[in-house]
Structures are given as structure tokens and as C-alpha cells.
Symmetry: C2
Subunit: 230 residues, 2 copies
């Protein structure tokens, strides 16, 4: 039996991340969590300062069982997080609205992940590698073409890592679940799916004429990485 | 002079919500905040339990200077929040990637709002009205057609309100901002815009034949409410 033979009793599960409402929607195996993380690059990071929670949107990258986020070394948030305080990283993919006959049974289709842990500063060789991982997570192919960070830029950037050791995924999909006695209610019912679509790229006005957009810019959609389940 | 004559010195500003990094991207007036809130219905709610932050995705509705969220009366999160503890509600619209010549100057275009406050339980007549507001915020036109909540369903649902009194918006748009000396770097640079698109509705398999989807289901895109700036 592999460690992840049972996705609902997986190795990332603790009491704190267990899905209690609608437990059939909870998953605790690395493969399910990683696949959701790799389908986007936007997360919401939760921290506590003087008892007040703050939720901050930022981009992230994943390398195996580790998440990376980054920001200005001067940022209050980053300096706060680097003190190994508890954080929460949440990723949400909204797949659609679920329109039931009853107001009560309306829902959303989504895939979400909650990772609990402590962030710590990344230093030394891992730091540049982490920036490359974030860049390739967000837009594969870009890193090799851009001007690499200078030493001053590296000093001005803080990179934080969070291990994916305590986490859960929650997934809802499919049609509405109306009560039997509501099925005859005279209104339309079903799913209203959403997708995130790339629009045509807008060249920088300062770009010299004749510089073509590379494939990774013109390709449609954010593609999960081929190694998404490792 | 109106209260919001200066969007960057608006009436929602406190030290805790002030944008310190890139202050030119911060706005503190109700109109800017409301317009971003009304362009989506997904928020990320941050709470603290035993010192640990949790970030939970959920839908919301807005009525003037008040936000509503809801959930099961049995939910740990909702029960926790109803004790008037500090919370953070964050809304993020990701508008695109910003591809600069240097790795360092890569960015995202986005519109985000952070609301700090305390949640409190909604009871009595306001509760049903709040559920209607949430429904109409998410999908205008739906509430009048669905089977209204029963008393038992109302008891099983908790509704919370958060006043929009301490909040900021942060907005980035436009092309990359490369350093002058990088402008000749030989790679493409510009914006890669994203949009959220509605896909064709999927009727519930249990829907009788011949029930047409109403206009609010077939119309493309999530439209901001006409009163978005009130």
C-alpha cells in the first residue's frame, strides 16, 4: 500500500485541516493537493499581527513538498513571516456556480487547498533556485530569457518557504443537490461554469518593433506543470 | 469637498490598512473599494483560532457599507466568528501577468481589497434580507425564481455582517516598469491579460425537458451591479 492509497485519510491530515462540513469533499494526499496548487499561481496568505488576521494575495511556486513565496525585503509582511510564525496559505479555483431550485441548496463548484505551517527565510543557493521555481511555476519558459537578478536585487528580495506537511484539499463538482420534494419547482437548475482565459498579449509600448511574443506567451491558458503530481 | 475627494486619503484609511509598499497603488475611498467588491463574489476570510491563522474561501454580498457572508450554523468557522473576533476579508481580481525584461521587475496586474473588522451575527428580519442580498450579488435575478428558505433552513444557516469601515484597495495596471538600462534586453515584454469567462450552462440531469435557461444564466460574464458605487 502506498502512503496515498486513501486520499481521504492521507498523510497531510491533522485535526486542524480536517474538513468537517461535508467530509466527503476533503482530501489529504499530496497528489490531490499538488494538482490544485499547480493549476494556479495565486494564493492568499494569512498571518496574525497583534491578534489581527491579515489576508494578503501573492504569487507562489511549488517544488515538491515545499511552497515558496517572495516579496520586498522591506515589506512588513515578509519581515513578520520570517520570524517562523504560524501562517496559512490558501489556494482557490472557482469552477462555477451551482444553481439549485431552493435558495438553501445553492453552492459553488471549486477546488481549494489550505496549507498550515511556519514560513522561514530562504538563504544562500536555495534563494536563486527558489526564484526560478516561482517564475517557472507562474510562466514556464520565461526564466531562461530574462535578465537575471543582480546582487542588489537579491538583497532587496526576501524569499520564504513553507513545507507542505499539514494540508487539505476540498473539492466540489457536479450538479445541484436539491431535496427530492423540490425537483418539481418551476425554475432552471444546473451549473454555470467559469474558466480563467488568457487574452491576447499586450506588448510593452517600449518594445522595439519586430520582437515576436514567444510560445509561452501566445499559448492559451495556464498549463499545469507536467510534474504536477510529484 | 466630499468625503472622498481624495481617494488616497479616503475615509476608510487607518494605519493598519495603509499600503506601504508602492503607496501610489493604495486607495481608501468607498467608491473604489465598492467597485472592486462588486466585480466578484469570492472572498478569502482570515480568522485566528488559538494563534493560528486560517484563510477560508467563501462567497459574499455587499449592501452599501456592509458585507455579508454565510455558512452552516454548525460550522466551526461561523461559530468562531460570531463571537465578534477580529477578521480580515480580502478580495482579489487577477487581471494579468506583467512580463518585464528583468526577473526582478516582473509583476501582476490586479485589483484587491482588504477589509478589517469584526463579524457579528445577523438575526431577525435582516437575516432573510441579507441572504437575498448575497444571492443577488452573486447572480442577479435568481432570488425571485427559487424556493425560499424554510424556517428550519434559516435556523441551519448563520449569516454574519462586517461593516466596511476600515479598508483599502490596491490596484496595479499597465505595462512593465523596467529599469532604463534593461530596455534593450533581447526578450519580449508586456502584459498577459486574464479574464474570467462564463462557459455555457450545464442543465441539471434531473431538469425536465423544455425548461429554458433564463437570461441571467445565459448572459456572458459576471456583471457588476448598476449601483456598484453607492
Amino acid at each position: 500500500m502506498t502512503r496515498t492509497a486513501n486520499k481521504r485519510d492521507g498523510e497531510l491530515r491533522t485535526g486542524r485541516v480536517t474538513v468537517r462540513r461535508r467530509p466527503q469533499r476533503g482530501f489529504y494526499d499530496h497528489e490531490t493537493v499538488a494538482a490544485i496548487l499547480d493549476a494556479t499561481f495565486l494564493c492568499h496568505v494569512g498571518i496574525v499581527v497583534d491578534g489581527q488576521p491579515y489576508v494578503i494575495p501573492t504569487s507562489f511556486g511549488r517544488d515538491g513538498r515545499r511552497l515558496y513565496i517572495h516579496g520586498s525585503a522591506a515589506s512588513r509582511t515578509l519581515r513578520h513571516l520570517s520570524r517562523a510564525l504560524p501562517i496559512c496559505v490558501t489556494v482557490t479555483l472557482l469552477d462555477g456556480l451551482v444553481l439549485a431550485r431552493s435558495a438553501f441548496n445553492h453552492s459553488m463548484n471549486y477546488r481549494s487547498v489550505v496549507v498550515l505551517g511556519e514560513a522561514s527565510l530562504v538563504e544562500g543557493e536555495e534563494k536563486l533556485r527558489a526564484l526560478e521555481i516561482m517564475s517557472e511555476h507562474i510562466i514556464p519558459g520565461r526564466w531562461a530569457q530574462v535578465r537575471a537578478p543582480t546582487e542588489a536585487e537579491m538583497r532587496a528580495t526576501s524569499v520564504l518557504k513553507i513545507d507542505i506537511a499539514e494540508a487539505s484539499a476540498k473539492i466540489r463538482s457536479g450538479p445541484p443537490l436539491d431535496d427530492e420534494e423540490d425537483l418539481g419547482w418551476p425554475c432552471w437548475a444546473g451549473e454555470l461554469p467559469f474558466t480563467v482565459e488568457r487574452q491576447p498579449p499586450i506588448p510593452d509600448p517600449k518594445l522595439p518593433a519586430g520582437v515576436a511574443a514567444p510560445d509561452y506567451v501566445t499559448a492559451a491558458g495556464h498549463r499545469p506543470r507536467p510534474d504536477s503530481a510529484r
